[in-house]
Symmetry: C2
Subunit: 200 residues, 2 copies
């Protein structure tokens, strides 16, 4: 494993800052300083701050897709697939929380950033929608609008994983250990909500 190149290190730092501080609150100067570089070096690799965001989104969308595709590859059928996806998101929350933070941030930023992310994750969304529809047709999951159902699942999982302040407000310290409990709770909740037979 070679030393990561400068452009990758820049992407890492930018991702972290965009995901936590937010896009506007991230300054090129500060990001550069954290890497022992000057702002102009960043602008050498990425012609503008917008372009940097674009690159961060592109790489993150790819990483995100890969993580989920991998989880789906050996996943089984029906409910097991939902569980596999949720588990892989929680794994991401532990190992690369910035990826999920960026997702949140991009949704807030709106177009064109959101459009780019949307396009990049489109195939995954289409697959998920089709899956839910098939399950509902087969009668194994309760009937809902698939899009809205997906949004509900998305919001719940992302919320459980990124809403640090709300967690604190509810008396749940967002530690790594608590993440496991949150995962268990989400899975149980989704099972009750989705499955036709509240099976055990």
């Amino acid at each position: 494993m070679p030393t990561p190149g400068t452009s990758d290190r820049i992407l890492d730092a930018a991702l972290a800052s965009f995901a936590t501080r937010g896009y506007e609150a991230t300054s090129l100067d500060a990001t550069a300083k954290s890497l022992d570089l000057t702002k102009q070096s960043i602008l050498y690799w990425f012609p503008s701050k917008d372009a940097l965001l674009e690159a961060v989104i592109a790489r993150s969308a790819r990483d995100l897709s890969e993580a989920l595709e991998t989880a789906l590859r050996g996943a089984g059928e029906g409910w097991a697939r939902v569980e596999a996806v949720v588990r892989s998101v929680f794994r991401l929350a532990a190992r690369q929380p910035e990826l999920l933070g960026l997702l949140r941030e991009v949704g807030r930023l709106g177009p064109p950033a959101a459009t780019q992310m949307t396009l990049a994750l489109g195939p995954l969304v289409a697959r998920a929608t089709a899956f839910l529809e098939a399950e509902m047709d087969a009668g194994t999951m309760r009937r809902h609008d698939p899009g809205l159902l997906l949004l509900a699942i998305y919001s719940t999982v992302i919320g459980m994983v990124t809403e640090v302040e709300v967690l604190r407000a509810l008396g749940e310290e967002p530690t790594a250990r608590s993440l496991v409990r949150r995962r268990a709770d989400v899975l149980q909740l989704l099972r009750s909500a989705l499955l036709v037979e509240p099976a055990g």
Copy 2:
């Protein structure tokens, strides 16, 4: 109803901008211009941008609490209370979407803004937690960690109402009419998830 005072107009404009563009992306100059004022007039009423945010949060938390308290006042028992709260949030989404947008934004900003909002909404949260616990004790709702359950409900409802870009990504145009459908879907979903008997 007298003409709203300048300080109220400033709070309105600031709330709208904080909720949509975000705090950092909101400039005092732009906000002032939208009100046919100068930045210095804003700084006359609120000594700094931080203080303005604080005032916006204080007023919004009050409005939010009032709306929910009102909804709860004539709400009935058990599931009807959940339904009353959800309905009132969707009503807010139609009439004052900025209030919910601010909630999102404040969560992202972290302390001290988040702390202030948390404190202001604390009583409401405590009430909700106690309610859920009582229902679970009574056996009418499935047992979960009340805090996490509340977070799940919060995330789902707020997501349905503020995640405009995600909605679009899922092929749901965020119109006023679709809001009604979303509300129906959320209620149905929550009922399946929460109630012990999937009652009809």
